[in-house]
């Protein structure tokens, strides 16, 4: 006779302030499969923890974003923000979907080139571009977005030296009514710095000013702010046209659209409240179409959307190491997933669901990671069913920034698996090994031997 599934005994006080079992049923709904592949099989085959990326979701998300903009504005180009997730397989999916590359360092630049991205379709952002990086970018005719005056002068010198005419854009920062205002990158609009920089570029005649760029912040919840940004850049572009009879080819509004994650402290879940691509597209295209561009002179609209395109496609699978009770009687569950690989748990209340079905009984639980540090908290409080040791959980919407900002700390970073549209799995980044780590280290000869 087969035995019944075990669930640990649990007792809960009926309290008036406590949501009863109908309170949070979504969190109970098990995630047994991702794109048709069983979570338990994934863990068995590739280990735990494990990052899983759905190619299907990436493709449907970028298609949805493109549709939102292309139905409202005639010329739209997405550029994949490498820093958000620069695993080669992920970048390649975006490039197959027609996205250019947006990079912010020499490392990211080289990565894009090595993937085979045409240099003309790389946007080079960021405050730190070395002379070597800039030389490369100039030779490849990439789009260089100027962040500060020192950079402007360096590019000017390099252009002279190499007898070339680099294509550049000015990064502009501005007040769009949102807080905090990102004013440390680029040139300020309100105090005239941006107009100044534009004039310097135009008068130098060594560069071609092809675009205007801004990135007003990240996880923005206000489409309206993008409307303001688009209007301000449009105004600058029209001023250039008027003064220099020079046409600005593109307006790049950067990234920053909120994904569907729920920010810590938000009362309503992000999936209900955060604006959609349509909301952002409406605000931006309305602002551009209502500005004074002539119909046939509308600039190309470039978007460097990062998190909103990849968050939902990423899952992190983990396993329960132990259940404990805190000194105050609260349930603590320890997972094998730490904040070193789930950086975003500092900002988001990530949705966590069990990977197997459960009864309706639940407990308020604090979810910890395995690091020996107090900050290693994945969720301060969530209602979870009675998980047993060894059970698997699925952490949702982790696709952005975690696989680039992760830290190798006390253990090795896990496999990353891609599920393709045919529901086949591919390892796209191998789990690190001790040899990998040791291969980068050197021990001086006098430290090689010891006896304890």
């Amino acid at each position: 006779m087969s035995k019944m599934r075990y669930e640990r005994p649990a007792i809960k006080k009926l309290e008036t302030g406590l949501p009863n079992k109908f309170g949070m049923r979504t969190e109970y709904e098990p995630t047994t499969h991702i794109d048709g592949v069983a979570v338990n099989d994934l863990v068995k085959q590739y280990g735990s923890p494990l990052f899983v990326i759905s190619e299907r979701i990436i493709r449907s998300t970028i298609k949805r974003a493109r549709k939102a903009f292309e139905t409202r504005y005639p010329k739209v180009q997405f550029a994949w923000s490498y820093k958000t997730n620069y695993l080669n397989a992920v970048c390649s999916i975006f490039h197959q979907e027609g996205s250019w590359a947006e990079v912010v360092s020499g490392f990211e630049y080289d990565k894009a080139i090595s993937l085979g991205v045409d240099g003309k379709k790389i946007i080079f952002n960021g405050p730190e571009k070395s002379v070597e990086d800039l030389t490369k970018a100039i030779k490849n005719d990439s789009l260089i977005h100027i962040d500060h005056l020192d950079e402007l002068y360096t590019i000017s010198e390099l252009a002279e030296k190499h007898k070339s005419h680099p294509r550049v854009a000015i990064r502009v920062n501005m007040d769009t009514g949102v807080y905090p205002m990102w004013d440390r990158f680029g040139f300020n609009y309100e105090n005239g710095q941006a107009w100044d920089a534009i004039n310097k570029v135009m008068h130098s005649e060594r560069m071609e000013l092809v675009g205007l760029h801004c990135h007003i912040g990240t996880f923005m919840l206000s489409p309206y702010a993008y409307g303001i940004a688009a209007s301000k850049l449009a105004e600058l572009a029209l001023a250039v046209e008027q003064k220099f009879k020079h046409e600005i080819r593109y307006i790049d509004l950067g990234g920053g659209f909120a994904s569907k994650n729920t920010l810590k402290g938000a009362y309503l879940p992000g999936i209900d409240t955060n604006p959609t691509f349509d909301d952002f597209a409406e605000a931006i295209s309305t602002a551009l179409l209502n500005s004074n561009f002539k119909q046939d002179k509308l600039p190309l609209l470039i978007l460097e959307t990062g998190r909103a395109l990849i968050d939902d496609a990423g899952y992190l699978l983990g396993s329960v190491i132990s259940n404990k009770r805190s000194s105050t009687g609260r349930r603590n569950t320890i997972l094998d997933v730490g904040v070193n690989i789930l950086f975003t748990s500092f900002w988001y209340d990530h949705k966590i669901t069990p990977a197997q079905s459960f009864s309706q009984y639940s407990e308020d639980t604090c979810v910890y990671g395995p690091l020996c540090m107090n900050i290693d908290v994945i969720r301060e409080s969530t209602n979870l069913p009675l998980l047993n040791r060894g059970d698997h959980v699925v952490i949702h919407s982790v696709g952005a920034y975690n696989m680039t900002q992760w830290m190798q700390f006390i253990s090795l970073r896990p496999n990353v698996v891609l599920i393709d549209p045919e529901e086949k799995t591919h390892v796209i980044r191998l789990r690190e090994t001790l040899d990998n780590m040791n291969s980068m280290e050197k021990v001086p000869a006098h430290l090689e031997k010891f006896s304890i």
Binding site: S2, K3, M4, E7, P9, A10, I11, K13, N323, L386
Partner: protein, 86 residues
Amino acid sequence: MKLRKNVAVSEVGLIFNPVTGESFSVNPIGVEILELIREEKDQNQIMQVLLEKYSTDQATLENDYADFIDILNHHHLIEIHEETKD
């Protein structure tokens, strides 16, 4: 170890403690344990019954059982006598 006097456990897992006025809900395995306690089975007997019925191992069960008993005690639902306290 004994269930406190007058503590009523219903089939669906509702417990009412008339002394403190508190109500609780318990999951099915919890109800089973409470019934076994009422029948004055000792820990070994209870373990045996549960291990035969559920797919789990002794160590996990012992751990969870101890935790459950702690909480019952915390809510004043059981009395732990000296002789059964070991």
